[in-house]
Amino acid sequence: MSEGSILDNADRRDFLGKATTAIGAAGAAAACWPFISSMNPSLDTLEKASTEVDLSGIAVGQAQTVSWGGKPVFVVHRTPEQIAAMKNSQGGKDPQADADRAKHPEWLVVVGVCTHMGCIPSRTEEGWLCPCHGSVYDNSGRILHGPAPKNLPVPPVKFVSADKIIIGEA
């Protein structure tokens, strides 16, 4: 190898070193991705993101609790009186119109987890009462009084047909 040949060029040597390091670092970073990705929910777990509910079994005035992504969801078949009462009020400390919460007024679908500390409220005439610290929700799932700060969350709901909904899809 003679002096002054391309291979002795310090700049070229440096470029190879830098380029190799860069490509190596990129490869090492890419190699980390499968490990990180494996910790994300698996294919079957992701399926829990949407739950099909058959509404035909829920009579007027009845409520059913279903599981959605590991959480309880209240599906209420509201009576006309309840719908009228909810239309006429805005709720309590977290005002919200009933129409924004129940697109199809006779069906109310809310996540049954109290927005205070996470207990599951019990069904009452007026809506729900959380046994843990006494939060009271109306028949639109809105907080009326008690320590809970927000209304019961409304999940995305898709009406596939008159008696079938998918919770988790808009």
């Binding site: 190898m1 291979l7 040597r13 190879l16 070193g17 380029a19 190799t20 490509i23 190596g24 490869g27 079957d44 399926e47 099909e52």
Partner: protein, 215 residues
Amino acid sequence: MKRLFVFALCWLMFGAWAETETPLKNIEVGTDLPTLERGAETVMTVCTGCHTLKYIRFRELAKLGIAKDKVDAWRGSNPMGATIASQMPADAALAAFGRAPPDLSLIVKAREGEANYIYSYLLGYYTAPDGTTGNHYYSVTRMPDVLSVAGVTDPAQLAQLNQKARDVASFLSWAADPHAQERKSLGYYVIGYLLIFTTMLYFLKGRIWARLDKA
């Protein structure tokens, strides 16, 4: 001495591969959707009469690209997330055949010869002189000749049966290893990257070690 060693090494390695059973018929497993769809059709309408596929869900058949109405027809009232059950309950099958029909999710991997074995086995039925049916590849099988292969001589019919068996073997290959395609394509990228990177390392190593000669 070294040559003798290398020769002995090679001889031993190839000697280990010598087999003396009924030779399998070899096929090229199909990975295209039409093949898998036809195979699924046969498996879902014929095989699930007795066999389960407990690691395959209907949802996965739909994701494969099979038409939704076909999948719905196969699953009936079962949800999409249900695994594929058999029509005959396990204890009834055990009573009828004397042995439980094995689950088919991994059957291709669980047999020496893999897809070639499944293909050969399905086509391996014959009628013995005494009228009973046997199988060239598994003499003690309790499984009936589901494709009605034994005794068929008409070449057109044989061709049809061959294709059916190949479709089933291909579908079951997919069922045993649903990520095979993804794995291979990722493999091409990984090996490609490594070839480039290792070549760069080779030249970098030469460059660095050349400093020694000057020292």
